[in-house]
Amino acid sequence: MFNQIRYYLCTFVALLTATTLHADLTIGQLSQQDQINYHILSRMTFGPTPQALSSIQKLGAEQWIKNQLNPSQISTANIDTRCKIDFPSLYMPLTDAIRTYNPPYTKASNSPKDQKRRNRLRSEIQSELRNFVIFRAANSERQFEEVILNFWRNHFAIDQTKDNVAFYAPDFENTLRTHAFGRFDQLLLATAKHPAMLFYLDNHISQKPLSPREEKQVAAAERRNAPKAKSLRALERQRGLNENYARELMELHTLGVDNGYTQQDVTDLARALTGWTAAWSTKRAQADPKAVYNFHFNTKVHDSKPKYVLGSRLTGSTRVTEGSNIILKLAHHPNTARFISFKLCQYLVDDQPPEGLVTEIASVFTQSKGNLKKVYKAILFSDDFLRADHYRSKFRTPFEFTIASLRATNASISRYDSLIYAMNSMGQNLYRCPDPTGYYDFAEAWLDPGVMIYRWQFAENLANNRIKGVRTSPIKPNQLANYIDTQTATQILMLKLKPDLSSANYTALILGSPDFQSQ
């Protein structure tokens, strides 16, 4: 397979060397093979480093890619110990995490002091997750795993600030990690049954709609404006269907927007998923020490009438499998294969991935029954992956830019808030995307002119060690070629690289240069 792409590699190298180097340039330059390695690293890691480059040189590109496709074979022992200490909520079962960070309510729970403590715990569990993501993206040897996680985290975007999602989100992150190299249908089903998703997209309050007769009862009682019987109050609480999750499940997670489903499909899918909830995070549930917070099917609010989605009646041996069956069907739908393949190609190859590639990958997706490892592999070993015109064609998102900067400066991090703040200023709020669509994965979405100033400021602050809790080392001149193009950008950069420039400011210029903004 690798031989097939040699031809493309050659074109690639030819293009890269099209301009000759400035005669006076004394900085390091990359060999042809290293330029290919550089491109592979720029897409499969959060930024090439001298260490990563030597690792790919040692193993050879093909083997290096294969290793990265099997993350469990790569040890992360060097960072795991610290992760367990610094981000404990990521290493707890769901229920333990909730008990620890959102402890059962007692009579004292309303006191201002206790409120304060609760707020602190909430912000702790929120920070741990975001910090964990940053730390691992910057430091894990399983770089491709982190890169792919960044994709799925965005595909199944949740906002940790909504309601009580904060307490479920670390377990959600782990769920994505469990399935990211497995099968898409299992990944999808795991998110569908995850309380974080059910809460985030309101499925937990979606209940069977009132019958016309019940509606009349409620309306009549409203008019009387008198105390109501218990049964009536229960009816009132039954707010009815919430289509939020059902719609996003088809629009964002599987088929793609308006791609083969109707409003009737949305409504019936929502009805099939009534009762898909998790133990409430109400005070009463909180006070119950035996409460379980995992997925829970509430038969009482399930709509058991017949439903039709995508042209056929839903079936299942139980009421829950009726829902999970249709989710599996959606996972294996040809439109899903194409939609997911398009997004993955857009992420790993180009903002506008070649039509032929997407078709090819979609068929791998279908034939392998959504085996994600095979899908990634097919993209990485495709003719298009190394095509010369995809070189540096992706504008780095704020997250990618920030992590690449941390890696380039070999940063050690003891505090994350300024990093999170900086990414937010550049337009990306980690685990807090305001929109279930996730962030868009093309340059136009990020290239606000004003944002460039933030990137420059971040580059300067980072290189000069002015970011609280982050310590960096300057980039050595002989490693310049790891970060920017020696053929083009350096010529501009040379204008600025005066002998009296401090090594920190030299580093800042590299991080803030046009080349470093793309990968």
């Binding site: 504008f395 305001p434 100033i453």
Partner: protein
Amino acid sequence: MTTTRRDFIKASALLSAATAGALSPIAAVRAFAQSSTLALINGCKETPTLITIFLRGGADPINTIIPYSDKFYSRLRPTIALSHSEDPKTSILPISQHFAFHPAAKPLAQLYNQKLLAPILCVGSKHPTRSHFDAQDFMERAAPGIKTIHEGWLNRFLELTKTSSDHPLRALCMQPILPRTLRGQYPVIAVPDYNATQSIKTFEELYTCDEGLQISKNNSQTSLDSDAINNRNKIIKAGSLAIDRIQSLNKLLQNYNPNIPYPNTNLGNQLKDLAAVIKRDQHLQIASIDYNGWDHHTYQGSTQGVFTNMLTNLSSSIYSFVSDLGPHINNTVILVMSEFGRTVKENGNNGTDHGHGGYMFAIGGPISGKQILGKWTGLDRRNLYQSRDLPVYTDFRDVFSSVLQNLFNFDTDKHNFFPEYDADPSILKLFKRTT
């Protein structure tokens, strides 16, 4: 009930669908023409300006424009209701027999009495969502329930009306992140919240030197088609645009002395900067500001507390801005909005939960002030949405449409500006009528 109904008839511009004095498009154009002529005579800028302030979190209408004569008001809000009092600092400020401003909104009451301000009641999105993100999204894109529109309504306006000679400071955002209202094709610059001079100095050469672009150009001639080069050019262009805009902005803002002090708050400072741009450059057309933190589920307070403090800040900042503008207020409109209102009844934590109908303030010279706009049917639960919230009688798109039409002579119908909605800008008599 009779009082509220009478109140509604008296206070509301929406008498009924049949008798509403609909402003015909021609009259609207005339009104526009006249207001700009008037403006010029008075030494006002030529370009009309719209500034939107988004109160994020769902700002409480009922403790802002207080229906004090409604018997349900104090009943439903036992700990957070306000009333008349001896102390002017805590007493409500009546503006009609039935409505009063919160004491913290005293500066706004002054603008109201100067006929520069009109509150719009029971306004919002007909979409039932009580989710912050959906509701904000729908309002900012002006497309409730439609997720295929990704651009903010004001960006769409800027893009549809752009010319090749657009002034560089036509649209501005004086905060680090563009609100969705301003996101889209049209390049609006979000101005950093710190002094960018140092960063610009460091990177200016790298992003503006001719040689950089020259190299790119040469390269694109030698290579077949390189996205990398295109991508780099885009990055360089974005950087140099930012440098250019921010440098001209800095010049405008230098040594600016407002006519009146502003509160030293984020909002106050943003409005002060915008006033400087409006007065000195006179080409600003659109600006938007976010004001976060209006989600008062707990300890909202009545005459004191976080809600009062925020309302004080909002009111005094706007008051300073309006006073500072001088004659330029004659064709400037400030629109204050929020994604939804809050429950009429207070909750168990001395706060209020997410509601439905909200409020807006329309402020400025062209606004037909000193009147309370929008249908109002009181706080009796039989008249509430789902027995708990203020209903939405006025679709927010009618307000947006009215502003675009009257201020910029932009016909939202012609451009199918609000997908799946026929906006009726005449539904409120929001703008001064000139015949």
